[in-house]
Symmetry: C2
Subunit: 244 residues, 2 copies
């Protein structure tokens, strides 16, 4: 039996946002590996072993998946959203860098609908012009670098999508981010808080930066700050295609 | 009959990257509207009218779709990739802004796999840390603004994904963009040219900025420039999750 490893994006939550490519990989897998809530989205069946693990062990999880593929198993590492956006794909390559003998394995990354694009679609089209995606967690980078990026993105007048805006353990970062954005973008700039998009718990709210409070976000929220031209039309928010 | 309008992302090209949500909308539609090559991806069937139009008439196309939905038809406006990323969703809201009486219509935006994420998955994980997405076409914004954004994105050490890098009519922009990037990011920075991702014509090439030439891109190419930590591992290119 020839093993393989797939890193698959399950999309933001709804079944109808899982690509057929990912569904086929899951149907052919012998093993599914991932963070507990993502593995819970995969249906159990005979012949499939589910390996759920906790957060913050991404490289160990990736190494475990590679080891199983090297032993001939068909392994899917599941990510929420898209595996290449603040998810498991980079952790996989970090593990692969440490173990060159695994680089000859059959490895594929399967894209998925990432949270910011599902959130943007639900809200309208706030990312319809140039934009950036920034992970606000300072687990893996210094907070000063996050602030620097926010200032430069504001100066570039990019719309911004924020992942992991507010952790329970370090909620003060998002307070500072909102202060910085109010200062650089002004209080009238539109910001959309999109929680649990595409799930039954979906909640969307668009306010101005002047109205925004840190409690509007948690770790299941994607935050989208518009650019200087972002505006409301009817019940939607969108960014025009043109600028300057 | 109650009409509706959906703006749907068909993904980068492969059938297996079209979400089930989009497939259902297409199966229920009476009319499909879009740019010629995207409408060509929708199978003809009795009861479905295909309305293919040329490029650069996005707002007129959106108004036509809204008009048909107002008349009770079930209309899908198709975009390549994700409709909210340099595609039809913003044009739809521009049309809607001009005609408030259409704002009460049943309108939904359905996300899709956007080209940069399919390209990133095919190449590895070059967008695995903070990144930006910039449309290099200067049809709808001044070239000076593009250059400003490139400089600021480089200063922020963001990875960058470029859409519409090189038009036939104005190829000189991409020459200047590459020069600017070589100057600000240095000649060793990795850049991936991903053409026609997920189609039979898919072609991927990763080189350094020092090696990159404008001819490596055309309008079917997404270009991904890594950040300062982006590197190769085996046959892949990836950006580590950590920085600073």
């Amino acid at each position: 039996m020839s093993g393989w490893l797939v890193v698959a994006g399950l999309g933001p939550g709804a079944e109808h946002l899982v690509t057929p490519e990912v569904s086929v990989a899951l149907a052919e897998a012998t093993d599914v590996v991932g963070y507990i809530p993502y593995v819970a989205r995969v249906a159990e069946r005979p012949g499939l072993t589910l390996h759920a693990s906790d957060n913050r062990v991404e490289v160990e999880r990736a190494a475990h998946a590679l080891q199983m593929a090297a032993e001939g198993r068909r392994v899917v590492v599941v990510s929420s959203g898209d595996p290449g956006v603040f998810a498991m794909a980079s952790a996989l390559f970090e593990a692969l860098e440490a173990r060159p003998e695994w680089q000859a394995l059959d490895i594929r990354i399967l894209p998925g609908i990432t949270a910011m694009l599902a959130a943007a679609a639900a809200a309208g089209a706030p990312l319809g012009h140039d934009f950036c995606a920034i992970n606000l967690s300072d687990n893996l980078k210094p907070w000063a670098l996050i602030e620097k990026r926010l200032r430069l993105a504001a100066e570039a007048d990019l719309a911004m999508a924020f992942y992991n805006p507010r952790s329970k353990s370090r909620p003060e970062g998002f307070v500072r981010a909102l202060d910085l954005l109010r200062e650089t973008c002004g209080p009238d700039r539109l910001v959309t808080f999109a929680r649990a998009v595409s799930t039954p718990e979906q909640h969307l709210r668009t306010v101005t930066l002047g109205e925004a409070t840190p409690e509007m976000a948690d770790m299941r929220t994607v935050v989208i700050v518009g650019n200087s031209a972002t505006r409301r039309v009817g019940r939607w928010v969108y960014t025009p295609r043109s600028a300057g």
